[in-house]
Structure formats: C-alpha cells, structure tokens
C-alpha cells in the first residue's frame, strides 16, 4: 500500500502499545512535529525531484535540512506546506495528514525568495498574513508590534515593503513566519542576504523557539551557522536523504586527537610516533590519533617528549558539518547512522 492513511497509523500505534493511550497519542499525534515517509515528487515526466524522502522532526528541536542546489529541499518543504502536491506522501505534520489545512494555522513558513505585496508596509504585511491565518484583529496588532521589535524592524514598520532592503525583507519574512506563534516553523534559507548582526538575531530567535518547545526546520547553505544551532540535520542529495541524525553522532567516527609539534631539522616524526601508536597518522608537524580516549594519547606524548620534541598544542577534533556535507555530496556515502537514534550520553561540549 503506497499511501498510508493517517488514521490507520494512529490505530496501529494505538494497538501496538496497549494500555498506554497517552504515550501513544503523544508518539503519533504530538510527539513528532513532522513525520513523513516515502515522499515522492515528480515535476512532469522528466524531473524526479524527490525520490522517497523519510524525515522526522521532533518538537523542541532545531532541525537542519542541507543539500546542494537542486537537491529538493525547497520541494520537500513546499510539499509539507501544501504549495505543491506530492506524487506520493504519507505521514503527519503536527498530527494532521500532509495536505490537510488543519495543521497550517499552527505552522509558520518562510518560502525562499519570498515577495511581499509591495504596496503594503511592514506592519500591514504582518496584519494581512495574520488575517489569512485567521488571527483576530487585536492579536494581530499586538503580535505585529512584538515581532517587528524582535527582528529589529520597529523603526521601519511604517515604510513600504517596496523600499525595504534585502535583509529587511528577510527579517520581515521571519516575523511573518512567527506571526501565529506556530508550533512548527519551516524556514527556507532564512539568513539569505542578512548581515552578521541580523543572522545572530535570527539565530537567537530560533533558539528562543526551541526553548518554548517549538520545532524549527531550517533549510540553509550556511553550514557553520546551522552547526551552531541545530540539534539534528539531514543531508539531501538528488532527492533522497543520504544522512540524518545528530551532528555529533554523524561525526563521531571522525573524532581524533591532534598533536602539533615544533618542526625541527632531522626529526623523523613518523618513526618516533610509530613505536608508541602504529595507527597514528603523521602530516608535517601534525600527529593525528584515530582514538578519542585521552588515555590512549598519553604514550604518544611520552614518546614525543622522550625524543625531545617540543609540543605546541594538543586538542581533540572532529569533522565539521562542512566536511560531513562534502563527503555526503561527493560519494553520496551514508555517513554514520540515519534515523535520528542519537545516543543520550553524547552531550555536546
């Protein structure tokens, strides 16, 4: 059966964990903000933009959706927001089936390259989209003032959007996506064109969302930024998710100790290190140990010290998100675990 009926899933899950209806409800209805499987989208005959995407975003987390241009990130988000119709989709968003209007009033969305009506000012834009979200007038007015302050547009709230700069439009877009105080926000490249100060502000807005237990899905190319805030990421390439999970989990295999020494003529670093740790790699003045146990590094340090080598720095390292991304894109290799089963002892320093 290609398309799993939402009610059917509820029923199956309810039967599965007999005796604990509350947990079941929260597992299916409230547990995950987004839980979709096998999302497929074809544009016409030729373009197969999504080829069966599985994605799960929990409440209270910031989820990063990465991928090269044309990977299908925006397409996926649009499917969730009912802007385009998926060829095939099953699963839930905030407990409603994908395509139902029911969830939409509780979701915020910032499309990429969005354009607001040019004849409105910032405040009117928020009011208009708030009204489309069925918010009462009073609340719209209150929320608009609050959000314009949060994104730093209070000074320009009466200026026509036509005269806004790119970054100001983007900030207004963020405010718009938060207008209905959503339980889930989908942001398609939110920091596009925003200055560093603005980016930091946006990051703090996202963190504040998470603090309130809301879910955020960010779709961005600025990996260093995502790395700072996201709890979990998924990397999409060519319409499929090749990697999904916590950044720590995904990069755990790449953790290593690095010892940097002072270069000296006639020093055979490889020979010195090789005796203590045969698996170590030597690159110029760097020694990399493929082990994360500090104890395992001590013999190497001893050996180096015994040989009279001057140590400059010793530190633990792991691949950055960028490295992970590059590897995922290059070989489409599945790095680490997918499915988001993060081990709890891995807390980030």
């Amino acid at each position: 059966m290609a398309l799993i009926n939402g009610a059917a899933i509820d029923a199956v899950a309810g039967n599965g964990s007999a005796g604990n209806g509350v947990v079941t409800r929260s597992a299916v209805g409230d547990g995950a903000a987004i839980d979709v499987r096998g999302v497929e989208k074809r544009y016409g005959r030729r373009v197969h933009a999504l080829k069966g995407v599985d994605l799960r975003v929990e409440r209270g987390e910031i989820f990063g959706l990465l991928g090269p241009n044309g990977a299908g990130k925006s397409t996926l988000v649009k499917v969730l927001m009912r802007v385009i119709r998926a060829t095939r989709v099953s699963g839930h968003m905030l407990g409603c089936r994908i395509g139902d209007a029911g969830a939409l009033s509780r979701v915020g969305y910032l499309p990429e390259h969005h354009r607001f009506p040019e004849y409105l000012n910032g405040r009117q834009v928020l009011d208009y989209f708030g009204a489309l979200l069925k918010m009462p007038r009073r609340e719209r007015a209150r929320r608009a003032v609050e959000l314009l302050g949060q994104v730093g547009l209070s000074r320009w709230d009466r200026m026509l959007v036509r005269k806004y700069s790119k970054g100001m439009r983007q900030r207004l877009g963020i405010a718009q996506s938060l207008m209905n105080d959503p339980e889930l926000v989908l942001l398609d490249e939110p920091t596009d064109g925003v200055d560093p100060v603005g980016r930091r502000e946006i990051r703090s807005v996202l963190i504040e969302q998470r603090r309130q237990g809301r879910a955020v899905l960010v779709n961005s190319h600025i990996l260093s930024e995502l790395e700072m805030v996201t709890d979990r990421v998924a990397i999409m390439v060519g319409g499929v998710v090749v990697t999904q999970g916590k950044i720590e989990d995904l990069t755990r295999r790449t953790r290593r100790y690095v010892i940097e020494v002072e270069g000296r003529a006639g020093l055979d670093l490889a020979a010195v290190v090789g005796r203590a740790a045969p698996s170590a790699r030597v690159e110029g003045v760097r020694v990399e140990l493929g082990d994360v146990d500090p104890g395992a590094a001590q013999p190497v340090i001893d050996a180096l010290r015994a040989a009279g080598v001057v140590l400059v720095r010793v530190w633990a390292e792991r691949d950055s998100l960028e490295d992970l991304f590059m590897r995922a894109v290059d070989g489409r290799e599945a790095v680490g675990a997918s499915g988001g089963g993060a081990s709890p002892q891995e807390a980030r320093a």
Binding site: M81, H113, R115, E118, L132, P136, Q176
Partner: protein, 410 residues
Amino acid sequence: MITQTWAIVWDTFRELRSRRLWWLTLGLSLLVVGVFGAIGLGERGLTFLWWELETPFLNKQTVGVRDFYTNIFVQFGVAWWLGWLGLILALMSTASIVPDMVSAGSIELVLSKPIGRWRLLLTKYAGALGFVGVQVLVFAAASILVIGVRGGVWLPGLLIAVPLVVGVFSMLYCVCVLTGLLTRSTLAALVITALFWGFVSLLSTAYTGTEFFREVNALNLESQGRRVERLRAQRAALEESQAPGADGDGPAGQAQLPEETGERWDLGPGEAERLAERLREAEAELARVEENRRLIGRVEWWLRASITALPKTGRAIEMMTGWLESEAQVAQREQRQSEGQDLVGAFDPNRGRPQSPEEEAEERRRERVIEARVVSARREQSAWWVLGTSGAFNAAVLLVACWRFGRRDF
C-alpha cells in the same frame, strides 16, 4: 472565515488603490461627470457652462429635460465611457491581480495559509468585480447628483448601470483571470483578453451581417421565384397562342398574357427562343439564390452556435442602453432605423444605380421589410438569453481556472 475573506478583499483593494491607473480612471470618470454637469438644456438650445448655443431642434420646447439627460448618460456615459474606455481601463488596472498573486515568491505565502485554493481565486475575482463596481457606482452616483443639481431631474434608475457594467466586465475578466493564471503574465493576459474581446465583437458583427444577408437573400428568393413563375406562365401562354387552331394575330395573343407582369415584349420572330432563354436565366438565378440561402444558413448556424457559447458583451451593452432609454421613454427608434437602413444599403447590389421613383419606392419597401424581420429576430433573443448564456460562459471559464489553480504546482 470572514477574517480571511475580508483580508483578501481588502488586500485586493489596496493593490488596486496603489495603482496610478485606478486613480486615473476615477479622475476620468469624474471628468465625464463634470461634462454632464457642464452641458445643459436651455430655453433656446444647448448650454455649455454659461454659453448657450441656439439649437432650434434641441431645446426645452422640443425635448424633455429628463429625456435629454438620460440620453446623454446613455450615449456618452454608458455606451462610450463605461462600455468602452472605462472597460478597457478597468481591465488594465485589474489584469495584474491574478498574475501578481501567482508570481513566484508570493503564491507560496498565500497557499501555505489555511485557505482553499478555489476560495482564494474566487474571492480575488469577486473582489476585483466589487471594486470595478465601486468605480461604476461612484460614476453613476456622481452623474445622478450632477444631473439632479444641474438639470433638476433625479434619475436614480441610472444605477442599474452598476450591475450591468460589472456583468459585462466580468465576462471579459474571467478570460483575463484564466489567461493570467496560465501564463503568469499580466501583459499576456491583457493581450489575450483584448484579442478575445475583438474576436467576440467580430463574430457578433459578422452575425448581424449574415442576418441582413439572410433577409436580403430571402427577399431575392421570393422575387426570383415569382419571376420564374411569371416567365413560365408567359411561356405557357405563348405556346397556347402559337398552338395550331388559335387566333393568329399578335395583339390578341398579347392580351391573353397576365397583366401584372409588367414585362413588355413583342411577339416577333424568335420571341419564343428569347423567352426560353430568359426563363433559363431566371431559373439559374433562382438556383443560385437557393444555394446562397443554404450557404448563409450554414454560416449563420455556426455563428449563432459560437455566439451562444461566448459572452455577448456588445449585446449586453446594447441591452443596457435600451433599458435605460426605455426607462425615460426616449425616442431613439428613428435613429436606430436610419442606421439599419445604411446597413441594408451597403449590401444592396443595385446601390448607386440610377433608379426610377417606383424602383426607389420598391427599394424602400424592401428595406423596411428586411429591417422589420431582423429586429424581430433579435427580439427573440431575450435579455435572459444574453445574460444567461454569458453567465454560463463566465462560470465555465472560472471553473476551468479554479480547476487549474487547484492542481497546479508552484
């Protein structure tokens, strides 16, 4: 529900209001109203502001003030301004509403809100109609006011122009919405709508043309038929007179011929052949006219079918002027008829030939007959037919637009 609908309608209005064209249209409207105010009817003739033009045929003695103003409103305000220029301006200012809405970057914002696509599109459509209605209302109300103040007659009946003009506008606007949706381009939507309008007008003109052709041809058919009969009778008479045993002298033979034929002839040598020749000609002509009748019938059928399927903007405007006029009982019939006669004249193959007074009288009679027949044929297509079929077209186009909009990926 109401919040959303109101938001969309209000947004549509703000969009229109932000256009220079919207204000230009309003300004021109008021200018036209101003002209109404400037023109008046004095004791001795037309007045324009404070000048009075002496027009013996047009003054308070010859025409009622009420008729005069209604007439001006209909001839200039409705037929010329609302039904033509104003309609074009309205189309130009509203054409971009749908392409703007579905433009990349805007449509995502709206579609991701909890509102149905059909509702979205129909609300936008209705909003555009509503604000065109506001424009017309302003125009009509201002006209009534100005005419009332200046001419001392109050003509609230002119307000009927509001729903009618909006109706005519909606016939074109639905095409504009559909094309705007499909092409996502305001310019393409406008051009296609204009072409469509032109095409519909052309069909309507062609249909009127064939109506006249049909009647001219029908009269031809009758007279040719009579001619053939007459010639046959003559031939029969001739054969009889020449038959053995009959009186041989000519005048007696001529006396037996039907009197009313009007055709003179002499029974001379070879007369029988000439008669036969003329009969053949007449029969060939009859066959040709008959063939024409069938051809015209086919063309007319196709034209009528397509006109039935398409909106009838021209007819609706005509109807509107008719209603407004009949309300004030303006004697417009003569003028219409003279126009009709010109049209008949244009199709007359004998036009321009020197004619005897009798022939001319006969010509007049023919024209009157044709005119009467065409007018009666038109009456058969009642107001409900015009509005109903146009409305059906509207609904069908909107349905296609909604269906497309509902399924389309953005």
